[in-house]
């Protein structure tokens, strides 16, 4: 989610997986133990659990590094539980504090972080040109070593103008922004904004596996990155909808607003011995 250079090049390396969800994959059995989760069972219109989530507010620096257009708030109209067991992040087209859009970005920074394990969220994305939803992680040492040295794992991000394709990526020193290690996964028969889908990474010392609906579509190992493998320390979680920015392009008059990302749950596991 931190980009510094021409991100549009990414398009050329997008590989839409041709695999069907019912393709058979033989994966090793794992014994995942739930260590942290949010089922978002709060009442309608409530902010998410403050013991689990904190907020990034405002416009960041240079649009959070990406020329993004939204102003992040912690208002319930931008981020709240819906009373039906979901968290809803809502991006609106509205004039607010000098920005043309509002949205929300919640993180577990300072509240929860973990090294290795399975990180998953079941969610339904927004759609429309210029919408950029993501479920991702940053290295908890970002305050001391900064980005991209801290590392970034994008479990799911999507361009609203391609609502049937998500991308999984990692950014680290020497391979960030447009040079990130990334792969797309496309639905041949549907869109990520119509039904809930389960997005996950399984992170081990020697690899990071990317899943959509428990289908492994990408495995990244230290040998696949051109720089340092920095995925050896705790990472924290982020959920957000950005509006506009280098990665996604800008919303148009035709982009439908408001747009929501509906998150059923976020669950973090570690592997039991």
């Amino acid at each position: 989610m931190f980009r510094k250079i021409n991100i549009l090049l990414l398009v050329t390396i997008l590989v839409v997986s041709g695999c069907k969800p019912d393709d058979f994959q033989k994966l090793d059995e794992r014994n995942w133990q739930l260590v942290w989760s949010d089922e978002f069972d709060g009442a309608e219109g409530q902010n998410p659990d403050s013991l689990k989530w904190t907020y990034d507010i405002g416009t960041g620096q240079n649009g959070w590094g990406n020329q993004e257009l939204q102003y992040y708030t912690n208002r319930p109209q931008n981020v709240s539980t819906d009373g039906n067991g979901n968290l809803v992040i809502t991006a609106k087209r509205e004039s607010y504090a000098g920005s043309a859009f509002t949205s929300a970005r919640i993180t577990t920074q300072g509240l929860f972080s973990q090294t290795y394990g399975r990180f998953e969220a079941r969610l339904k994305t927004p759609y429309g040109p210029g919408l950029w939803p993501a479920f991702w992680m940053l290295g908890a040492n970002i305050e001391t070593v900064s980005w991209p040295q801290c590392g970034e794992i994008d479990i799911m991000e999507l361009r609203g103008q391609q609502p049937n394709i998500i991308n999984g990526s990692i950014h680290g020193p020497g391979y960030s922004g447009g040079n990130a290690v990334t792969k797309g996964y496309g639905l041949q028969d549907g869109r990520f904004d119509e039904q809930f889908h389960l997005f996950a990474v399984e992170w081990f010392p020697d690899r990071i596996d990317f899943f959509v609906d428990d289908y492994l579509y990408q495995r990244i190992e230290p040998a696949d990155v051109s720089g340092e493998w920095v995925y050896t320390q705790p990472f924290f979680l982020i959920l957000n909808i950005a509006v506009g920015g280098n990665y996604v392009g800008f919303p148009t008059e035709q982009t439908p607003f408001p747009q929501t990302m509906v998150v059923d749950y976020v669950r973090i596991y570690e592997e039991a011995n």
Partner: protein, 624 residues
Amino acid sequence: MKVHILTSYKQFIYCTLLLLFFTGCERTTDGLDAPGFSTNPDVFIDTFSPGLNYAAFGGSLVTAFDVDIETTYNNTAASMKFEVPNYNNPSGAYAGGTYFTSDPRDLSGYNALTFWAKASKAATLDIVGFGNDLGASPYQTSISGLQINTNWHQYIIPLPDASKLTAERGMFFYSEGPEEGLGYTFWIDELKFENLSSLAHQTAGIFNGEEVTVSAENGQTIQITGLVSTHNLPTGINQSVNPSSRFFSFTSSDPSVATVNPEGVVTVLAAGTAVITATMSNLPASGSLTINSVGEVIKPPVPAPVPTRPADKVISMYSNAYTNVPIDTWNTRWLYSTAEEFFIQIQGDDVIRYRNLNFVGIEFSSQPIDAGGMTHFHIDIWTPDPTNPPNSFKILLVDFGADATYGGGDDSSHELTFTSPTISTQNWVSLDIPLANFSGLVNRNHLAQMVLSGDLPNVYVDNVYFYNTGAPPVTPATAAPTPTYAAADVISVFSDAYTNIAGTNLNPNWGQATSVTQEAIQGNNTLKYTGLNYQGIQLGSNQNISSFAYLHLDFWTANSTTLNIYLISPGPVETPYSLSVPTSGWTSLDIPLSEFAPVDLTNVFQFKFDGNGTIYLDNLLFRK
């Protein structure tokens, strides 16, 4: 709906003007085959699909469509080429036509009509769609204003509800006019129905999703408009189409108040409130129509009084009693006017009904009315609405001045306001307004507009005309002609032109009822008898007029029916002379004195008048 969409751009004639193409390979029908229709999704893939025909719309350039083998999508064998004519092309003003199959197809397994298109320049296609079968076209659906450009792009027309399309013949139609007056060319290729998994988030709406409220009355019909179905395309943007009403199911919350038919026509039946909503398939449509019905319309039970003014003294704008002058419109529909006009009959009498009247412009500038010879404006109005103060009814008259056109610095106008008790509820009110009351109306020779307004939303109007009362004027407009006889030849009794006999008593008390005054008319002193029965004049001294030939006088009366003048000598000896009344203007008369025989002309000393009415007299004198 279907006709409406198309006629909003151009006038289409749904007859088959020309079959440009008729493929030879129609689907064979051997009656043994089951009822299912062909599910062939292809419309034009390098060539006409089996059974496909083309017909150009009426008034279009019939040669606009052709098959092109040079400019094709993805270097395929052929594409559809459309040459949009220039503005005012005598062969056809636009490109437009429909592609339809001889036998219906079953399209229920698809959710979109897709095609690739490019154009010789960036352009906006006025209408593209499907479902035009040159007949009833029950499921016609279209996109208005589809933007295309000089690159090949794929375009998607989402089907509103494919389950309805089990027997469809209209595969594709289009209508496109020049872009800013200039023709150009566009191409379409790979035109086919598809089942796209990438369409999502369908919504439907009536009245474009608005919640519309109207007041209505029995018998009124209201067409549900603004039908829309929207899908989110694979590109994340929404694409709306305009479906026919047949894709919707309409419901009235109270069918006793208003019903709605499958064509989306609402009919109001009774007083009350009904809400019309719709669904498409199982999808609730946004938008609604709330009808607040007043029930039966309150109408005048009887016609307005029949005018009795003679037709030759009337300029009538609207009346069965007269020949009316041409009126451009009884409702100019000026901005912010909510007025609706209906031409109805009350017991055979034509009446204009205005509803939702805040103000209404009435224009007759094409042939302005010259009311210069008129004295009054008349209008009959009837309203069911409360007329108690401060409610009012207003009439504005506008004269365009000598240039007979709006503006130009010579326009004038005046508005009059009428309140209770002049206006009243549920009664015909006849307003007879002196034009002089429109004091700001400096001229009235080029009257061109009238505006009715006020606080009465419902007004019935009849017998709108200007008229001249025909009543004679009460006073002479001009002075009596000044006599030009030499003073030496005159003995004057009453005249500003001569020295009169001194000491004459113009109002001797002979027991008469007549009132005698003197009035200056155009500065000329005039003798006036009001309520004449008889009236005498006592000369200041006896006169010998035997050497004079005539008694001269000027008289003016509008209402006298009998009038005599007597010359009197002592005795008395008197002889009447009958004066012709009433007069048309001043009558100047020279009566030979012999007419008064046997009066002694050497010694006359009195005059007498008898008769009736109001008489003006001047220049009473003897002359040679």
